[in-house]
């Protein structure tokens, strides 16, 4: 168990990351990354993040890949704002609502599988018509956010998949800056921007932001009070993420 990572409810099996092995296979086949990158993944989480995010793009959509901001791939910098633009323009370009549903189902299929333990009550996203679970952790070294999500509905999985593509590896501040309005044009099945239970985008985003805020507070608390026990931090985090 890696004790340097501050985390919310994570099952021990998460660190073995079956998901990442799946990604690595795709990296090797689809984008022609070398075996060197595979080794680097095992040595440093930061490299994994960089590699994974670049190839997240390759995995997700050839269209998105084609339109990717050249500056972000050159420097390896993660730019949520750029990704949001890509996501919005991709969905806007799909004029027919059914095309958007199909694209979401595509993304749903690419969402890394989560094991059953992720489907816990504290991970449940409140207010959704379907069941959605979100896990969050913050990498201590970089302060960047990592997310995983799951749902019993394929369309909700598609939403989660897009949000994770957008925010997995982002800085905490970038996660918190997003608003529901940013996703106005990406919505499916809800005509308009209502605050109803059917608005999964909104609810999952709120959940991710709440957990991010909690982890940020925990980090600040830890810096103020290095002697605080792990249990205290976890309960602080739990109370802030409610």
């Amino acid at each position: 168990m890696n004790t340097s990572i501050i985390r919310t409810a994570y099952p021990p099996s998460h660190t073995s990351r079956p998901c990442s092995r799946l990604w690595m296979k795709r990296i090797d086949s689809s984008s022609g990354c070398t075996a060197l990158k595979f080794k680097r993944e095992n040595e440093s989480r930061k490299s994994l993040k960089c590699v994974r995010i670049r190839d997240f793009g390759a995995k997700y959509s050839s269209e998105l890949n084609g339109r990717r901001n050249p500056s972000s791939s050159a420097t390896g910098e993660f730019a949520v704002a750029d990704r949001l633009q890509l996501l919005v323009s991709e969905f806007k370009s799909l004029a027919e609502p059914m095309e958007r549903v199909k694209r979401l189902l595509d993304y749903a299929a690419r969402l890394p599988p989560c094991d059953e333990s992720a489907r816990s009550p504290e991970n449940r996203v409140a207010g959704c018509a379907t069941q959605v679970w979100v896990e969050a952790e913050m990498e201590e070294a970089s302060g960047r956010m990592r997310f995983r999500a799951d749902s019993d509905s394929e369309i909700s999985k598609g939403f989660c998949s897009c949000l994770i593509w957008l925010l997995d590896g982002a800085e905490a501040e970038e996660v918190l800056e997003l608003t529901a309005e940013d996703f106005e044009h990406v919505n499916i099945g809800l005509h308009g921007k209502g605050h109803s239970r059917a608005n999964t985008w909104h609810n999952v985003l709120i959940s991710m932001q709440r957990k991010t805020r909690a982890l940020l507070e925990e980090t600040k608390e830890r810096r103020r009070n290095p002697s605080l026990s792990e249990d205290c931090l976890l309960s602080l985090s739990a109370s802030l993420s409610l």
């Binding site: 609502p97 549903v101 394929e154 369309i155």
Partner: protein
């Protein structure tokens, strides 16, 4: 409204258990009120006020006649059935219930028929007892009978279930409840719009319904209560209209129904509800009911033919009638995904979720279901279109696996 298009397809509206569409006569009645005689009721001397009061009270009378109440003073206008149940809970409940008194409900009740009684139980120490489903997936009437005792003070039951489509034998339940000295509150939201309901025949103590499910506007509903019971109840909301005299340290209260109608009511909406009742009565509730029984069977048989479908509630037969609605699931496809696809690809409006019946869903072992619910303006063609669209939906999601 029904003739519009949604996502390029004709709208097929099959979510009537959630709310109904309104005939033009109702829309006209509301518009006429606001255009021609909009004025506050019961207070003014002038012509407009007199006219508004007359129409408002006429609407009350229409409701009384519609459900065969013995007097229109037994009809209290509320915002909806939920508010009506809360009225009974906060007024009658808090006054009459004490620790260890029992309230019997079924596990299939709507949240609005459960939650207010949880509040009352918390405040008074009364206990809620729930009737579970039997093997036919209807509330177990034998269990209900066994739960009744001298400790039972109230029985809260739906007439027609918004999920199971089952109909409870309310006349019998009332007889058994009265035998042990308990009162009965009937949630008639899914029955009053679809069949003739006679409160004197049922001998119910309280009955609630919402206008918006019966071709009337939103924002108005009613509580029926027997005169002697309403007369003994303290007020619910305080304010104008429900008082007799107001002093600084106390007030005296009006007689029912005014006692329970604080503030300016939804006058135009009440008039609209009256117009809805006129509309339905002109067709006749018996005709509507017979039409829907036929449609209900057609819906059930058609839906049963869809592969891997699971319909909740009783199987219809000679003795078992279902309402014209089906809650269902299809194996391996989330009901919300089904509803989204039906809406986006085919313009078919159904509902998905727990339908304000989480305890029921939990007891069925599911988190959500899809629900298709019909009304007098739906046809067999609508059902055919829905089934065709549903099959298309199933094929679509299966092809993605």
């Amino acid at each position: 409204m029904i003739l519009q298009e949604v996502n390029g397809s004709k709208l097929v509206y099959l979510d009537n258990a959630a709310t109904s569409q309104k005939p033009t006569a109702v829309l006209r009645a509301i518009q006429t009120y606001y255009e021609a005689y909009n004025s506050n009721v019961h207070r003014g001397i002038h012509y407009l006020s007199a006219k508004a009061t007359e129409e408002y009270e006429l609407a009350r009378k229409k409701i009384a006649t519609f459900i065969n109440a013995s007097d229109s003073s037994e009809i209290v206008f509320t915002r909806n059935a939920t508010e009506a149940i809360n009225l009974v809970a906060y007024s009658w409940g808090l006054q009459n219930l004490k620790a260890d008194d029992e309230i019997v409900l079924t596990i299939a009740e709507h949240h609005s028929a459960i939650v207010p009684w949880q509040f009352v139980a918390q405040k008074t120490g009364a206990v809620l007892k729930f009737v579970s489903l039997n093997q036919d997936e209807v509330p177990d009437i034998d269990m209900l009978k066994k739960l009744l005792s001298t400790r039972t003070k109230l029985v809260v039951v739906h007439h027609v279930s918004n999920v199971l489509a089952s109909v409870l034998p309310v006349e019998d339940i009332v007889i058994w409840a009265h035998d042990v000295g308990a009162k009965v509150l009937v949630d008639a939201c899914q029955s009053v719009p679809h069949m003739a309901v006679d409160v004197q025949n049922l001998d119910a103590d309280f009955l609630v319904a919402s206008s918006h499910k019966m071709c009337g506007p939103t924002g108005v509903g009613f509580l029926y209560g027997k005169s002697d019971i309403l007369s003994s109840m303290p007020p619910f909301l305080g304010g104008g209209e429900m008082i007799s005299d107001v002093f600084l340290d106390h007030s005296t209260y009006a007689e029912p129904p005014s006692r329970f109608e604080a503030g300016t009511p939804a006058i135009g909406e009440a008039v609209g509800l009256g117009a809805a009742i006129d509309y339905l009565s002109a067709i006749s509730m018996q005709r509507i009911h017979d039409y829907e029984v036929d449609l209900a069977n057609y819906l059930y048989e058609s839906l049963r033919s869809v592969p891997n479908v699971r319909i909740y509630g009783p199987v219809p037969s000679e003795n078992v009638r279902r309402a014209a609605l089906c809650s269902f699931n299809i194996e391996s496809i989330h009901p919300t995904d089904i509803a989204t696809f039906l809406d986006q690809q085919h313009g078919v409006a159904i509902r998905s979720g727990h339908h304000c019946a989480q305890p029921l869903h939990r007891s069925l072992g599911i988190s959500a279901s899809a629900r298709v619910s019909l009304y007098l303006y739906n046809t067999k063609e609508d059902v055919d279109y829905f089934i065709h669209a549903l099959n298309d939906t199933v094929n679509f999601f299966n092809s993605f696996k």
